[in-house]
Symmetry: C2
Subunit: 700 residues, 2 copies
C-alpha cells in the first residue's frame, strides 16, 4: 500500500497516488459492466447464468442491509467518513480474525498496538510533516476547494468525451452517459460539452492523462493556465495549487505546546519499538512485527465511497531482515504459485497485459527483487483467496521508478479489479533501512542488530575524536548537539568529512535541531582517522519488507467480487461470501409460526450457540423464499429449516445459499457439516456427504 496508505515514501516523496491508474484504463472501460460468474462455495461446482454487474444495485443492497452508512447521516453526513452496521462490522471482524491467524499466528509475528496520537517530532523525522501532502487549489470567489490533479484529470476527460461525442465515436449512448453521471454523483464536471477538438489537442490531452500521477504542483498550475482549467461550475480561474498536508493535526495536553497528529499509518509505531521487539524475540533475526488499527488521512475532497475515506482500518507487517541475506526459509511453500505480474518494464512500454508466472520464476528472473518479498507476495495472494477475492480480478503491479522512494529496493501493489478500475489494496515494499536509520539518527538510540561473528575480524574504520573542551566556548548551548552530530556520522559520511577537512580545514554543516543556520566547525576541533580494530560483532540496521493492507478497501472489493443476481430474477441479489467471512453463518427458519415448532426452534438455537456458530432466527410471517432472499443479500451461507417432520425424527433441512441446494439430516449431522465447511475448509460436497439430498420446494 506504499502509494496509498504507506504514503509518500512510495512516491519519491511527491504525493499520494490515485486509485484508478491510467495505464489501466483499457481494462477499466471494460470493467464497468463486467460479468460476474460465481462458482458458489468452493467445491460446489454450480455454473450460473450471470447478469451484468450493477454498482447501483450493489450499493442499494449494502445500504439497505446496513453493511455501511455515511457517518452522522442524520446531521447531513461528513464526506469520507462511514460507519459499518452489523453485517459490515462482522465481515470486518472475520477478515481481521483471518488476517491475524494467517499472518500473526502462522508466521509467529509480534503484534503490537501503538497509539494513533503521534507527536510532531516523530512525523517530522519520518518525513510526513514535510511531504505527506496533496495539491489543492481554491476558488477565491466561491471558497470551493479542489484537489488539483483530480480536477485537471476530470476536466480533460470530460473534454475528450465531448470530442468523441462530437465525432460520433462514442460507444455509449446518451442514456448510458446520463446513467453514468448519476452513478458518479459527486463528479465536479456536471455536463459534457459536445465539441470537436483539434487532433493535436486531443493528443496533448491524452499525454497529460497518461502522466497525471507524475506532475508537481507547479506543473499542474501551468496546465491549468495553459488549458484554461478553472472551476467547472463557473469557468472562473482558480488560485495556483498549493500543498495541503493530509494529516489531522491536534494538540496533546493542556498547554497547547505539544503539537501532534493522528497517525497516517501504523508503521512508525512499530519502528519506534524495534529494540524492544528484537529483545522480546531473544535477539533472533529475521522476525516481523504487525499491527492492526485505524489510520487517518484528511482527504481534500473524498469521492469513490468506501474506497477513499478519511479514517480507515489498516493491517501492516514490518518484516526485519538482514540486508545481506533476504532469502526466506519458507519460500518453497509459495514458489509454485502462478500469479499475474505487471512489472515496471511492461508498463513503461505502455502495456497493461500482465505476465503469468510462478513466484519462483519471478524471483529467479529478478522480476521480484528477493525471496522474502516474493514470499510475502505469495502469502498476500493466499490471504485474499481465503477471504473470497476473485483470482481473475487480481494482479501484482510493480511501482514505476518515479512512484518509488529513492531508498526502496522494490515495491509491488496487490490490485483488485472493480467497477472503479484497478484498486490498490495491498502494498508490499522493501523499504530498505530508511525508517530505522532516520529515527536512530534523530534520537541517538541505536536501532540495529548485533550479530556475533564466527571469528573476530580486523577492519580499518574511520574514528572520530573531538576536542570536547573547545566546543562549549564556541557553540555554547548548541555544543552537545554539534558533538552528538559528529559522533553519529556513518563511515560514508566520515569519509566525506575527511575530504572536506582536507580541502577547507573546516566543516560547514546544517545540523538537525539547530535552527539558526549552518554551523562551522574549525579543523582543530575534530580528528577523523582511519584505525585498525578487531571486531567481534557485526552491527547492522535491518532492512524492512512491508506488506500493508487497506482492510476497508479489500472489504469493498470483496463486496463487488461477491455480488451477483439470480438469473431467474435480477431483483434477487446474493452476496457469496465464503462461510468463514460471512457475517452470520446460519439463518434459522421455522416453516410455520405454529407453537408446536417452538421447542424445536429453541433446541436448535441452543445447539448452535453451544457450537459457537453465529446465527439469526427469522420467524416472521414472510414466505420461506422471502426470508431466504433477505439473507442471500446478507450473504448468510446456510439455512436450517424446521418443519413438522422435525417434530417426529429431529431432522432438519440444510440449504446452501449459492446453489439453493438442500440436504436433510439430524441436527448433529447438520451442525457437523456447517462446522466442517465454515471452519475446517471442507467443500459443500465433502461437508454434506453423509446427508440426504432434499427435494427443494420452490423458493417462492
Amino acid at each position: 500500500m506504499q502509494s496509498l496508505i504507506g504514503l509518500f515514501r512510495a512516491r519519491n516523496f511527491s504525493r499520494t497516488s490515485k486509485q484508478v491508474r491510467h495505464f489501466a484504463k483499457p481494462a477499466q472501460t471494460q470493467v464497468h459492466k463486467i460479468s460476474v460468474k460465481r462458482e458458489g462455495i468452493e467445491g460446489l461446482k454450480v455454473s450460473k447464468m450471470s447478469n451484468e454487474f450493477n454498482r447501483e444495485q450493489l450499493e442499494s443492497v449494502l445500504k439497505r442491509r446496513f453493511f455501511f452508512a455515511p457517518s452522522f447521516d442524520i446531521y447531513g453526513g461528513v464526506s469520507g467518513l462511514y460507519d459499518y452496521g452489523p453485517p459490515g462490522c462482522a465481515v470486518q471482524a472475520n477478515i481481521v480474525d483471518t488476517w491475524r491467524k494467517h499472518f500473526v499466528h502462522e508466521e509467529d509475528m509480534l503484534e503490537v498496538d501503538t497509539t494513533m496520537l503521534t507527536p510532531y517530532e516523530v512525523l517530522k523525522t519520518s518525513g510526513h510533516v514535510d511531504k505527506f501532502a496533496d495539491w489543492m487549489c481554491r476558488d477565491l470567489k466561491t471558497g470551493e476547494i479542489f484537489r488539483a490533479d483530480h480536477l485537471v484529470e476530470e476536466v480533460i476527460e470530460a473534454r475528450l468525451k465531448g470530442d468523441k461525442l462530437a465525432r460520433g465515436h462514442s460507444t455509449e449512448s446518451a442514456d448510458a452517459e446520463k446513467d453514468k453521471k448519476k452513478k458518479n454523483r459527486k463528479k465536479k464536471v456536471k455536463e459534457i460539452k459536445v465539441e470537436k477538438l483539434d487532433d493535436e489537442l486531443v493528443k496533448e490531452y491524452e499525454t497529460i492523462l497518461a502522466k497525471i500521477d507524475g506532475y508537481s504542483g507547479e506543473e499542474l498550475g501551468e496546465l491549468m493556465v495553459k488549458y484554461k482549467i478553472g472551476n467547472p461550475a463557473t469557468g472562473e480561474a482558480l488560485e495556483a495549487p498549493r500543498e495541503f498536508n493530509l494529516m489531522f493535526e491536534t494538540h496533546i495536553g493542556p498547554s497547547g505546546a505539544l503539537r501532534g497528529y493522528l497517525r497516517p499509518e501504523t508503521a512508525q509505531g512499530q519502528f519506534l519499538n524495534f529494540e524492544k521487539l528484537l529483545d522480546f524475540n531473544n535477539e533472533k533475526m529475521p522476525f516481523a512485527s504487525a499491527a492492526i488499527g485505524k489510520s487517518f488521512r484528511n482527504e481534500i475532497s473524498p469521492r469513490s465511497g468506501l474506497l477513499r475515506v478519511r479514517e480507515f482500518l489498516m493491517a501492516e507487517i514490518e518484516h526485519y531482515v538482514d540486508p545481506e541475506n533476504k532469502s526466506h526459509p519458507k519460500f518453497d511453500a509459495v514458489k509454485d504459485l502462478k500469479l499475474d505480474f505487471l512489472p515496471r518494464d511492461i508498463q513503461e512500454a505502455g502495456k497493461t497485459e500482465p505476465i503469468k508466472m510462478t513466484i519462483g520464476e519471478a524471483v529467479s528472473k529478478k522480476v521480484v527483487d528477493n525471496e522474502t518479498l516474493g514470499y510475502f507476495l505469495g502469502r498476500i495472494y493466499l490471504f485474499l483467496m481465503k477471504i473470497g477475492i476473485d483470482p481473475a480480478k487480481f494482479r501484482f503491479r510493480e511501482h514505476m521508478q518515479n512512484e518509488m522512494a529513492h531508498y526502496a529496493a522494490d515495491c509491488w501493489d496487490g490490485e483488485l479489479l472493480t467497477s472503479y478500475g484497478w484498486i490498490e489494496c495491498v502494498g508490499c515494499a522493501d523499504r530498505s533501512a530508511y525508517d530505522l536509520t532516520v529515527h536512530s539518527r534523530k534520537t541517538g538510540e541505536k536501532l540495529c542488530v548485533r550479530q556475533m561473528l564466527p571469528e573476530p575480524k580486523v577492519v580499518e574504520e574511520y574514528d572520530c575524536e573531538i576536542e570536547k573542551k573547545k566546543f562549549g566556548p564556541k557553540f555554547r548551548r548548541d555544543a552537545p548537539k554539534v558533538e552528538k552530530w559528529l559522533l553519529s556520522q556513518s563511515q560514508e559520511e566520515l569519509e566525506d568529512l575527511v575530504k572536506e577537512l582536507a580541502a577547507n580545514d573546516k566543516i560547514v554543516a546544517k545540523i538537525p535541531d539547530i535552527t539558526t543556520g549552518e554551523v562551522e566547525i574549525p579543523g582543530d576541533f575534530v580528528k577523523i582517522l582511519k584505525k585498525k580494530k578487531t571486531v567481534h560483532v557485526r552491527e547492522y540496521i535491518p532492512n524492512v519488507i512491508e506488506p500493508s493492507f487497506g482492510i476497508g478497501r479489500i472489504i469493498y472489493c470483496l463486496y463487488e467480487h461477491s455480488f451477483w443476481t439470480r438469473p431467474e430474477d435480477s431483483a434477487r441479489a446474493v452476496l457469496s461470501f465464503p462461510p468463514s467471512v460471512a457475517p452470520t453463518k446460519v439463518l434459522l427458519v421455522p416453516l410455520s409460526s405454529n407453537a408446536a415448532l417452538q421447542p424445536v426452534v429453541k433446541d436448535v438455537k441452543e445447539h448452535l450457540r453451544s457450537a459457537q456458530i453465529p446465527f439469526k432466527v427469522d420467524d416472521s410471517s414472510a414466505s420461506i423464499g422471502k426470508r431466504y432472499a433477505r439473507n442471500d443479500e446478507l450473504g448468510t451461507p446456510f439455512g436450517i429449516t424446521i418443519d413438522f417432520d422435525s417434530l417426529k425424527d429431529h431432522s432438519v433441512t440444510l440449504r446452501e445459499r449459492d446453489s439453493t441446494k438442500q440436504v436433510r439430516g439430524s441436527l448433529d449431522e447438520v451442525i457437523t457439516a456447517i462446522k466442517g465447511i465454515t471452519y475446517k475448509g471442507l467443500s459443500w460436497e465433502e461437508g454434506v456427504k453423509n446427508l440426504v439430498p432434499f427435494e427443494a420446494q420452490s423458493e417462492e
Copy 2:
C-alpha cells in the same frame, strides 16, 4: 463507566471523576500490600503461601516482558500514551474476543463500527463541547499546569501526613514513606513537611478530602486561596482554575471550516444510527447495539500508568428499552448471583462496607432500579470472572446523587480493587431517553419506536398550528428555524407554551441555531389547542441502559489480580491468567538441543498449529527451569516438554503453570486436554483425567 469514560453526564455535567474514591480510603490504605492468594487454574485446588504484592515488581515484569511500554519511548515518551507489546496486545485481543462472544453473540447485539472523528455539531448537541472539562490552573511564572482538584487533594494529603508524622501517629516508617514516594514518582508534592497542625484544621482538611469530587472550579479556587495552596515546588500562587475541555480538537477537510473532535466515547456513534439499527432489527424491541473501539481524552496531567491514559479502548453497549417496561426476559439467569453492592445510602452514611445480596433481592428491594439494569450487572460480573478478575476484589458502587446526571434513573460502577485503590472499570447506567431526545430535537429526525396498539385509542393532545405566512416577513431567514422549533415541541412543552400565551399573548424563547438572542413570537402566529385524536400507534423514545467497559483499565487490574511470586523464591513471578486470556497457550520445550529431538519438535509444532493453539518454542540453551520461569512471567498456562522418551513412544509431558504439576500422555491426548481446558472451560483435573501423573524434576 459513567463518571470516567461515560463522562460528565454521570456527574451532573460537573466534571470527570477520580479513580481512587475517597470513601474507599480505609480499604485503600490496607490495599497497597494486599496479600495475593492464588487458586491456580480454576478447579485446580492448590493453596499457595503468598508473598506481599509489590507493584514495582509487577511493573518491572510487565515492562521487561513488553506487555506495555511508554509510546515514543526513544523520543522521550508522551505522558498518558502507552503501546502494548506482543503479550499485552494478545491479552487485549483475547479479552475483546471474549467480550464479543459473551455480549454480542450470546445476546444477539448489533455491533457497529463508527468513526472516531466527530463533527462539532454532534458533540455540541450531546453536551460534550460545553461540559466535558476539568479545572486547570496555571503557574504564570513557570508555565506549569495543574489539575485543580488533584492538586488540592495532594497538597492537603501531604499536610495531613506531615501532621501525623509530627504527632508520631504514623503507622508507616520513614523508609516505607520514601518507598511510597518512589512508587508514585510523578507526584507533584515531592516532600512531606513534618509539622503538627491545629486539630480544627485537621478536621477541615478531612472534610475537604471527603468532598473533593464535588467542588466547582470557583470553590476549588477559593480553597486554594484560603489554604494557601500554590505550586508545590515553589509555593507560588497559581492562576484561578479555569475549564479545560478534554476533547482533542482537529479540523476535517482542507478549508479548516469544519471543526471536529476525537470522540470521547463510542456511545454517540451508536445513538446516531438508532433508526437504521431498529430497522435492521425488523423494528423489534428491546434490542442492543454495541461498539468496540478507541476513544480519547486529553487529560491535563495523566498519572497512574495504564489507569489514566489519553487514548484507550472501550467496549460499550447501548440497550434500548421501553421506558414503561424495563423487565428482562433472561433475568432469571442472573437473579441468584450474590454480589457486593455499595448503594448510595450506605455511602451517604459515610460507610464503605458493601452489602452482599443477590441481584434478584437488589432489584426487588429497589436497590437496583430495574430488571434490565440488574441483568446487565450480572452479565458484567460473569464476564469479569470469565477473564480472571478476582471476585474478592470486585464490587458494584452506586453513584451518589450529585455524581449522576439529572436525567439518569440509576447508575452503578463495577469497581476493582488494586494497589491504587478501588478503580472504576465498568459503568452501568440507565441514561433514560436523554441522548436520543437531544439528537432528535437538533436534527428533526424522529429517533423513536412506533408500536401498533392492540386497539385504537382516543386521546386528547395538544396540537400546534402555525400561521405560516406570517413567519417569513417577521423572522426572515430564521423563519424555518422558528417554525421547526414550534412543531417539534413535546406535549409537556406545549402545555407550558399555552400558559405563556394565555399570560402574555406571546412566546419568548431561546431557539437553538438562532444565535442572535431570544425570539419573540406574537400570539396570533400560533394556535395551540387540545384535540381529540384516534391513535393506532404508540410512539415512544426508548430509554437506554448502557454498560460501558474501559478495556485498558480492566487489563491493568487483571495484571494486578493475576500477579504473585512463588513462595520458595520471591524473584520468580507468575501471571496466572485463565488459559483463554493468556497471550500464548503453550510453551514447547525440547529437553535438549540434540538433533535427534528436532523431528519430534517439528511434529508437535505442526499439530499445535493445525489445532489452532497459539504456542511458542523455546529451544534456547537455558535450563528447563529458567525457560519455564520466563514463561510464567508471560502467563503461559501450559508447557510441553519433549525428551528422549518422546522418541520412543511419542509421549510428551504437560506442565501446568500455577501448580507446576506435570502429567504425561500421547501428543493427541495432551492436545485434547489443552483444548478442553482452554476453550471448553474444563478444569485441570477434568482436562487431564486420562493422563498419567509425572514425577516432576526440580525446576532448576
